[in-house]
Structures are given as C-alpha cells and as structure tokens.
C-alpha cells in the first residue's frame, strides 16, 4: 500500500473532485451543442454522459479493508433518439421538413450541473475538515 492511509484520503477526495469537474465540463459541452441541428446524412451532436466507477487498483488509494477509495469518470455517449422538430425550409430539413437536434434536455443538464457543483463543494468541505483534524493532531506535540 505504500503511503500512509491518512494521506491516501487526499488522493481519494482529489479523484472525486476531478470526476465532478469532468462531469461539469461534459454538461457545459452538452448545453453548448444543444441547439445545433443536423440530419440523417450529418447527424447532430449526441449527448455525452459521465459514468463514475471505483478505481480498484490499491495504489490509487484504498482506505480500509474491502473499501475501494478513489473513483474515476468515464465519458460515454448517452443513448436515445435525436429530437425531431418540424421546421419547413430549414437547411437541414428532410423531405417532410423534419430537422434533427441533439438528445439534450437543457433542464436535465441544469439539474445535473447543480448536483455536480454541490457534490464538488461537499467533497471540498469534507477535505478541509479532514485537514483540520490532522492539524489538531499535529498541534498536540507543540
């Protein structure tokens, strides 16, 4: 395991912070591309989503018996049909006048963004608490 468990906590939280940052960045990208049209020949942007998973490699930071610690974010395509909107005369319109748009729901993305921010802040606050606990322990020797 190498490093002291007390210090591995920093790695675990750092991985969570990175993962949430990644998630926020993907959400921004989804929002930015949400209204860019496409058609059958040139499909529109496909929504990206982030999946969180444990890093099972002990070296990345395990905090106890049977307890994986660090996590990582994996970006994948979100399944689902593109939105079909009737806009006759649109450059991307097909024979019936249907235009394809990304499978992005702005409201869902906003909710996700709030969640990701909250999770980020919570992990950061917890890390500060942990640091404070370590400092208190150090101060005992002074």
């Amino acid at each position: 395991m190498g490093e002291a468990v007390s210090l591995q906590v920093f790695d675990v939280t750092a991985s969570a912070l990175s993962a949430e940052r990644r998630r926020l960045s993907v959400i921004s990208q989804n929002i930015a591309n949400a209204e860019v049209s496409g058609n059958a020949a040139h499909p529109p942007y496909r929504r990206q989503r982030v999946l969180f998973e444990s890093v099972l490699n002990d070296a990345k930071g395990a905090i106890g018996r049977g307890a994986p610690g660090a996590i990582q974010a994996r970006v994948t395509d979100a399944p689902g049909d593109f939105r079909r909107v009737l806009i006759k005369g649109h450059p991307d319109a097909d024979a019936e006048g249907m235009v394809l748009f990304p499978n992005v729901n702005i409201v869902d993305e906003m909710v996700d963004m709030v969640d990701a921010s909250r999770t980020y802040e919570a992990n950061l606050a917890a890390l500060r608490t942990w640091r404070q606990m370590l400092r208190q322990t150090l101060d005992m020797a002074r």
Partner: protein
C-alpha cells in the same frame, strides 16, 4: 503500561476511532455517485466493549489492544443504482465525527499542559 500512558489512554483511543471513521466517511462521500458502492463505517461499539472489558471485567490490556475496523455498513439501504450512500447524512456524520475528534484532542492537550505546568511550576 506506565502511569503516564494510562492517563492518556482513553482519549488517544478515541482519536484512533475518530480518525478511522473520518477516512471511512470521506470515502463514502467520494463514492456517492458510484453505482453499486456500499458505504463503510467504523463501529464505536468495539471501543465501548474494550472499555468495559478493561474497567469492569478487569481484562487489563483490552483497551490498549483494541483496533478500529472499517467495514461495510450492513444496515445501509441501496438506492436505485445499488449505491448505499445518503449524501446529506454522510456530511452530517463527518461534522459530528470531527467535533468528537476535536474534543478528544482538547482533553489530551489539557493533560499535556497540566503536566508541563507541574514540571515548570507555572500555571499556564
């Protein structure tokens, strides 16, 4: 165990438990969105038992030998993704645990300062 060690034993053991618990809770918070993750925790009942064994049942050394264990929480209920972490609850536990850690540190510091004062002869 020297008399010096004995005076500090209980608060120092408490610190071992709160430190282990903080690590467990921190990991829970980091893994709150990982599907299938099961929350872990440290049970203070083992410390309570060691204390009782030492004080009431006269098993000397029980308190010194006891160790905190980070184990999967068997009572936690899984959400839709199989994750058993309740985000807000974890945060509250982190704060409660930090408070207990601070109290135990305070007790140890108090004893240290008393010793230093007694040696120096000055109160403070």
């Amino acid at each position: 165990m020297s008399e010096l060690d004995a005076a500090f034993l209980v608060p120092v053991r408490v610190l071992d438990w709160t430190a282990a618990r903080a690590r467990a809770l921190q990991s829970n918070l980091a893994n709150a969105s990982v599907p299938g993750y099961r929350r872990v925790d440290v049970d203070f009942a083992t410390l309570a038992k060691a204390l009782r064994d030492e004080q009431e049942k006269g098993k000397t050394g029980a308190l010194e030998k006891a160790r905190p264990a980070i184990d999967v929480d068997p009572h936690a209920i899984a959400g839709p993704s199989g994750n058993t972490v309740e985000f807000e609850r974890e945060q509250v536990q982190i704060d409660k645990n930090a408070l207990l850690h601070e109290l135990a540190t305070l007790v140890v510091n108090g004893k240290l300062n008393s010793l230093r004062s007694a040696i120096r002869g000055t109160a403070g």
